[in-house]
């Protein structure tokens, strides 16, 4: 009874905490005012729940801020003595502060969300339909985000004896796995594996183990479209991972608090075990990071694996030892024991073990290199293979971006889109695997050894995916014709041919300058389709060398949501005949238009440290225009950067007068090589 009364008395007192209250109520009030103002004039791209970056940072910030303010007594010896001398259990103090922090977040957060929901629903009828689900999802996701950062910070506070140490631990917990996976493991893979493109397991690990990334997904901060935002619910795996983070951090914090000794306040860490764990993890990461950084800076990778191995082990161990001793020094300073001799002699075994761990990780990458680069799955294990040969059937602009982003797999959306499009599972897969077997078996299949690259994704039956990027030389490019000429690959490259019937669709012809709508009946459309399909089935990859399309046929159907394009080459005999029969001048090129002027921009590369290299000239004389019109090709038709490359160093803007309307239009072009 006495205990219960004392407990109740304490709980009443635990409500104190003006700084925490100001942080939370003040933060949400400011957020509320700003959001209401923003929602007053824009309900389309302003989000107050899911999709709101500001709310995400507020919740994460409050998670950290409230944990530090609620548990600040753990850093203040005097205050801690005061609390612990009162007739209250230590665990009661801990849980009361814990609940106080949560309540300080939850109450203003829910109030803000309710008012914002009502406000937007009153202004936007479309939103009103989603209001309830959006409200509930936002509350759930942002509460999870808050809890993750709150628990993470509580753990940091509980294991640290100083504020500065706790801040460092928070930073380590937030960024450790991001640095480890993104900068170290993926960095090693990129440098050591010649055929590295991406490793999905590492990416998944990064998404799940990096609190910032995981919570960013929960908050939907990557979304911009209102429809997407209102419908958004993170993947179950992401929600599950966040819940596991929250529970795990809470359990660790409770265990650490139970084992925390009062007298350790003022020290860097509150126990030897925490010191060892922190020292170990940070030293190993630093060793790996240092080794990787030096390897890249000195370009060691080309000097043989034995040299790389020795270098990585040496540099890694030096980095590990250095950081280990630095951490040890900082820890010892708080104990007043800073003798250099003591630093080196203390935890020598652990330092040796850390060094060995760094060496083992580095050597594991080197040892795995052969398996990784020569990996070729058995057909029986394979569900499909996606192949994207860079520069094949892609616009020059896409090609340039794709080539620039070769080392950035996540941002390389051109390649990613093509990998989705060119997923082969039938005859294309068989031919593709034969082609890949030849490439993989070559002694040196790394990029930089060929004229182009091919990115491949092996879709395994067990659901896993293995990505590789191979160098493709001229022979290999020619050999790719066996894949290109399979029915399956052509279906992917020319999706137009998959259509069986056309009736209500609108068919438009464009030669890169003007669009002409074909007035076709239903049977005519089907006939056109069949002619096109026959041409595609007959075409050879070799035909593409030296040939650019003469135009595009676009099929649009608003009703069925079809928007497809089909390139037409001069060697598509039946298609050309059909188009001519229906009044299309398929032979019309730039020179056949009335060109008023041409602006030519020539770009040349300049040495490092120099600027310029661009020359702009305007041509409006008839003979100059005629000369340029012969060599220019509309940007839209320059789609074979490898087989029939355009000279992208010469870009043109051609001003054309349309005789029918007496208007002018500007067409972007490249020069033919």
């Amino acid at each position: 009874m006495t205990s219960r009364r004392l407990y109740n008395n304490w709980i009443r007192e635990a409500g104190r905490g003006h700084i925490a209250a100001i942080l939370s109520w003040g933060g949400f009030f400011a957020y509320f005012v700003l959001k209401i103002m923003a929602l007053s004039y824009d309900t389309e791209y302003v989000f107050f729940g899911i999709g709101s970056g500001e709310l995400y940072y507020l919740c994460a910030g409050l998670g950290i801020g409230l944990a530090f303010t609620e548990f600040s007594y753990l850093f203040q010896g005097k205050k801690q003595d005061f609390y612990y001398s009162l007739p209250v259990k230590k665990s009661t103090i801990f849980w009361s502060r814990y609940m106080h922090g949560i309540l300080l977040f939850v109450i203003p957060f829910i109030l803000t969300q309710i008012v914002c929901t009502l406000f937007e629903a009153s202004r936007d009828q479309g939103f009103a339909l989603y209001a309830w689900t959006y409200f509930v999802r936002s509350i759930g996701m942002f509460l999870l985000i808050f809890l993750l950062f709150y628990h993470l910070s509580i753990l940091a506070v509980v294991v640290s004896g100083k504020v500065v140490a706790a801040i460092v631990v928070v930073m380590v917990l937030i960024f450790y796995f991001q640095v480890l996976i993104q900068n170290v493991l993926q960095g090693f893979a990129r440098s050591i594996f010649q055929s590295y493109y991406r490793i999905p397991v590492l990416e998944e690990m990064q998404n799940v183990l990096t609190p910032g990334k995981l919570t960013g997904k929960l908050a939907g901060t990557h979304l911009f479209e209102k429809k997407e935002v209102l419908d958004y619910l993170p993947e179950t795996g992401q929600i599950g991972a966040a819940i596991i983070w929250v529970i795990l951090l809470m359990v660790l914090a409770v265990i650490a608090h139970r084992g925390r000794r009062t007298e350790m306040t003022g020290r860097v860490f509150v126990s030897s075990a925490v010191e060892r764990i922190f020292e170990g993890f940070v030293s190993v990461l630093a060793g790996l990071f240092f080794g990787k950084m030096l390897m890249d800076m000195l370009d060691i990778i080309g000097r043989g694996m034995a040299v790389v191995g020795i270098f990585l082990c040496g540099a890694g161990m030096i980095g590990t030892m250095f950081v280990h001793l630095c951490v040890e020094w900082l820890v010892r300073i708080s104990c007043g024991d800073v003798k250099v001799r003591n630093l080196a002699s203390r935890r020598r075994k652990q330092m040796a073990f850390e060094g060995m761990a760094v060496c083992m990780i580095a050597l594991a990458f080197l040892g795995y290199r052969h398996y990784f680069d020569y990996f070729l799955p058995e057909s029986a294990d394979l569900d499909g293979v996606a192949i994207s040969v860079n520069g094949l059937d892609m616009e020059e602009d896409q090609y340039r971006r794709s080539s620039m982003n070769q080392n950035h797999t996540v941002d390389n959306y051109v390649t990613e889109e093509r990998l989705k499009r060119y997923l082969l599972k039938r005859d294309g897969m068989t031919a593709g695997m034969e082609w890949l077997a030849e490439i993989v078996e070559r002694e040196d299949n790394g990029i930089g050894n060929g004229v182009e690259t091919a990115v491949v994704c092996y879709h395994m039956k067990d659901g896993s995916r293995h990505y590789r990027r191979y160098a493709v030389d001229l022979d290999a490019l020619d050999a790719f014709s066996h894949v290109y000429e399979t029915a399956e690959y052509k279906e992917k490259a020319y999706p137009f041919i998959e259509n069986e019937t056309l009736s209500k669709e609108r068919i438009t012809w464009t030669d890169g300058v003007t669009d002409t709508v074909l007035k076709l009946s239903g049977p005519d459309k089907c006939e056109f389709l069949k002619a096109y399909q026959r041409d595609v089935s007959k075409m050879k990859m070799a035909d593409l060398k030296g040939n650019l399309p003469i135009g595009n046929v676009r099929i649009d159907s608003e009703a069925e949501g079809i928007h497809e394009e089909a390139v037409v080459y001069s060697f598509f005999v039946e298609t050309n005949e059909f188009l001519i029969e229906h009044g299309i001048d398929v032979g019309r090129t730039l020179r056949d238009y009335r060109i008023i002027s041409i602006k030519i921009q020539t770009t040349t590369s300049v040495p490092a440290g120099h600027v310029g290299g661009a020359l702009v000239r305007f041509y409006d004389e008839a003979d100059e225009i005629a000369k340029w019109a012969e060599t220019l090709v509309p940007e839209e038709l320059a789609i074979q950067p490898v087989l029939c490359p355009a000279d992208t160093s010469i870009q043109a803007e051609v001003e054309i007068e349309e005789e029918d309307t007496s208007s002018t239009t500007v067409i972007k072009c490249y020069s033919r090589k």
Binding site: T2, S3, R5, L6, Y7, N9, W10, R12, E13, R16, K78, K79, Q80, D81, F82, Y84, S85, L86, P87, V88, K89, K90, S91, T92, R261, T262, E263, C335
Partner: protein, 318 residues
Amino acid sequence: MIEILQVTKCFEHTKALNSITLFIPRGKVFGLLGTNGAGKSTLLRVIAGILECDEGEIRIDGATSYDDPKTKAKFFYLPDDPYYFPGATMAQMTEFYGRQYPAMDKEGVNYMADKLGLDVRRPIRTFSKGMKRQAFLIMALCANTEYLLCDEVFDGLDPVVTETMKNLFRKEMKERELTVVVAAHKLQDLEDFCEEIGILHRGGVLLSGDMREKGSDIHKFQCVFDIDREVCADQQSVVQGEEAMQTREAELRRHLDIVKYREEGCFVTIIARGEENDISEVLRQRSPVFYKEVPMSLEEIFIAEMEAADYDIQKALQ
């Protein structure tokens, strides 16, 4: 009763408390005396349940104090520099303590504060050091707990405030059976106030109990010897001057358990352990011109014990 049984507390590699055993009876003022770093504050914090002992146990009325609210409700811990909420007044702190200690006499606080000229509505941070000490002592006494643990409460206070605070204690002791444990490193602070004293030295208990009782085994004699002439009892010979002084000291040390020996010309002060008559007889045999036992102060007993423990007493007297 507070029972401290074989309590050991280590901070890293330092043994702050080394297997301490002490019994603090109810209703008495118990002084914990020791030099800086002797372990007084650590012992008080262990008793208060702030620190957990590594070995041994603390029992307050038979129950352990560590993390037990029921036991903790029996005592009030008053550190040397008490914590108060930022901007809090004495009235607000009384209100807070009132929730933690149900027997808190809020009226008593107002009454005593008024008597001592303390404004309960003024922020504590604006109080002087002495005023803060008085304020917290008032709150501690009015919490009406059975035990009061005070750490260096008189340190740095002027004699008037010290006396005022001691009077507060005395008044309270008269009215109820309050047990007070006071830690101090200056004997003067405890001399006229504590009934029992425990002397801590390097984490251990040197001695504890009633000091005056303990002092019965130690005697202080003041003697005057003829400086030019000394009869050596053993050799029946006569020695002169400086040599005589050295021989005398060596002789006395051989026959007596001397705690302290101080010689100023012909005037010698000796503090020795043993029976009064035995010491008297040894001195008499050295044919002093004059010798007499003089009463020992508590400080002298403390210093004697400390020196006997091979401790540099100058540090304690600083």
